[in-house]
Amino acid sequence: MPDNGAVTSPAIETHGLRKIYGRTVALDGLDLQVEAGEVFGFLGPNGAGKTTAVKLLLGLARPTAGDGRVLGQPIGDRVTRGRVGYLPELFRYQAWLTAHEVLALHAQLAGLPGATRRAEIARVLELAGLTGRADDRTGGFSKGMQQRLGLAASLLGDPALVILDEPTSALDPVGRADVRTIIGEARSRGSTVFLNSHLLGEVERVCDRVAIVNRGRVVAAGALGNLLGDASVRIRATGLPTGDGALAPLERLGTVERADDWLTIRHLDPDRIPDAVATVVGLGGRVHAVESGRRSLEELFLGLVQDAADPIDPADVAGVPAAPTGGER
């Protein structure tokens, strides 16, 4: 993956990025690499350090230790910020300006050439579904409309990198679907999208790669397919023959495990699930249930985050015998 670094450097790269606020470790040595052109999901529970990471990338806060590069330049570089679009988690725009005026202000601050501003503002208004409200003051906007406005502002000028911090927190299901479309559109125009979210369904649908962060540390990272593992299917069937080689026709589809009435077929091409069922029936089996066995992102996430939530510290355990602290393993 990163081998062609000489040609296209990663959009984001951090090394041991650390941020301490008072006694709170907000980010504890973040190592991250986001390739140019991908949609990257940065996942974590509330308070995991996602927003802190974004603020460090944009120079809104200074790292306590570590460093990083955004679009090939050191983090916080002013000129580079002209190629980055950002929707803050806490999105607020001047209530006394109209949506169009807010975007004009941001186009101006972003340094977009005057000649293209008008068309560009119209484009992002359309994209965010705000064309009809362009001349209304944002003070009268619902939270969802304000978030759409922030999204529009972040897309002004086709930035090379778009950083969206919880972009759907105030949106209804229709709005969320719109955001997926917008992200797809941004990617097709060549932008790298860095998506901060705790809404797993969303991330699962749009992201190429994800990193899961917990307590300021990345606990898993990689392509979604690799993280979730191969697809598998579980079939409950009775009346199947027993003995060595009895399930040979099924084994041509994937690795088969048998436990009581349940068959688990791993490494199965999802398109061949009907073939697997047909094969079971062909072998004389009576099918009672079929379940898709692929782990969801949610299961993966909960597993990783809960494991880390209750680390067993030998020092604590030694001092407190049989204390009923924390129920989970």
Partner: protein, 289 residues
């Protein structure tokens, strides 16, 4: 390459905010109402005095002192307005998060601070000068009294307000809006008080107190600028009368000035404003958002 465009964009935004949020109209309506009341008051004073057969010269002197009192009250109102406009200018943007989206753009934090300062300074200067000249014109209309240097007076009035505004803005880069505004008003009041104390110290030859007051006057030049306002309003005749040794007590008055603030002091006040803006920029640059 340093470009002024983002800074000017912020200044324009600040001016637009003042107009859009109707702050400017509230201030102007207040000014017009106050000026109208001043006009009516002075007109009645003059007509009563004339009916009683008071000499015209005495009336003029009386009106000149009334005008200085009015200017004094207006300078306080201006200082308050400046403090409460400037204190939230950056502080509220930080508190609400508006600043996040703006500072993620390729602009410097200095652009935001200086742009805000410029926009607010233009607004407060226009307000001070328009209101001040209006009051002077109305008093002239009803009494015939015209201060010797009206432009000097309103310029010092505006510059004093800008000094107060600068202080509040700089505090607001680090403190919550309410704290920045309250501290500014208290410090402004103290500055005025120290000025009065200094004048009294001179009259009573209390050397150390006078030196201390002078030093504080350098640290906070607002009261010194107020002396410039009086200088522009004080008729030369009153200044002449007060120059006699019998009138030494008059020199302790906060409403009296025979000479303009020294040019070095005025130059220092400019440096002071620049320094305070610079401190504001430094504080804001260090701030984590």
């Amino acid at each position: 390459m340093i470009t002024l465009r983002p800074m000017l964009a912020i200044a324009g935004l600040t001016l637009r905010e003042i107009v859009r949020r109707r702050i400017v109209w509230v201030l102007l309506i207040l000014a017009v109402v106050s000026v109208a009341l001043v006009g009516i008051g002075v007109q009645r004073l003059v007509s009563f005095a004339r009916a009683d057969g008071v000499a015209e010269l005495e009336i003029r002197i009386g009106v000149s002192q009334v005008l200085i009192m009015i200017a004094f009250m207006f300078s306080f109102v201006l200082a308050m307005s400046a403090a409460f406009l400037a204190a939230p200018a950056i502080a509220s943007d930080v508190e609400t998060g508006t600043v996040l989206a703006m500072l993620a753009r390729p602009i410097r934090r200095a652009d935001l601070v200086v742009g805000r300062w410029l926009g607010l300074s233009i607004a407060i200067a226009i307000y001070a000068m328009v209101s001040g000249l209006l009051a002077i014109a109305v008093v002239n209309l009803v009494s015939g009294h015209l201060p010797p240097l009206p432009w000097i007076a309103v310029s010092f009035l505006a510059w004093q307000a800008i000094a107060v505004l600068t202080f509040a803005l700089a505090l607001g880069t680090r403190l919550p809006a309410i704290a920045a505004g309250a501290i500014t008003v208290v410090v402004f009041g103290l500055g005025w008080f120290v000025g009065v104390l200094g004048s009294i110290a001179i009259v009573f030859n209390a050397e150390p107190l006078a030196t201390a007051a002078d030093a504080l006057g350098v640290l906070l030049p607002t009261d010194g600028l107020w002396r410039g306002v009086i200088y522009g309003l004080e008729p030369p005749l009153v200044a002449m009368l007060a120059s006699g040794s019998s009138a030494r007590g008059l020199q302790a008055s906060p409403f009296f000035a025979v000479s303009p603030p020294p040019i070095t002091f005025v130059a220092w006040s400019v440096v002071w404003v620049v320094l305070v803006v610079a401190v504001g920029v430094l504080l804001f640059r260090r701030r984590e958002l």
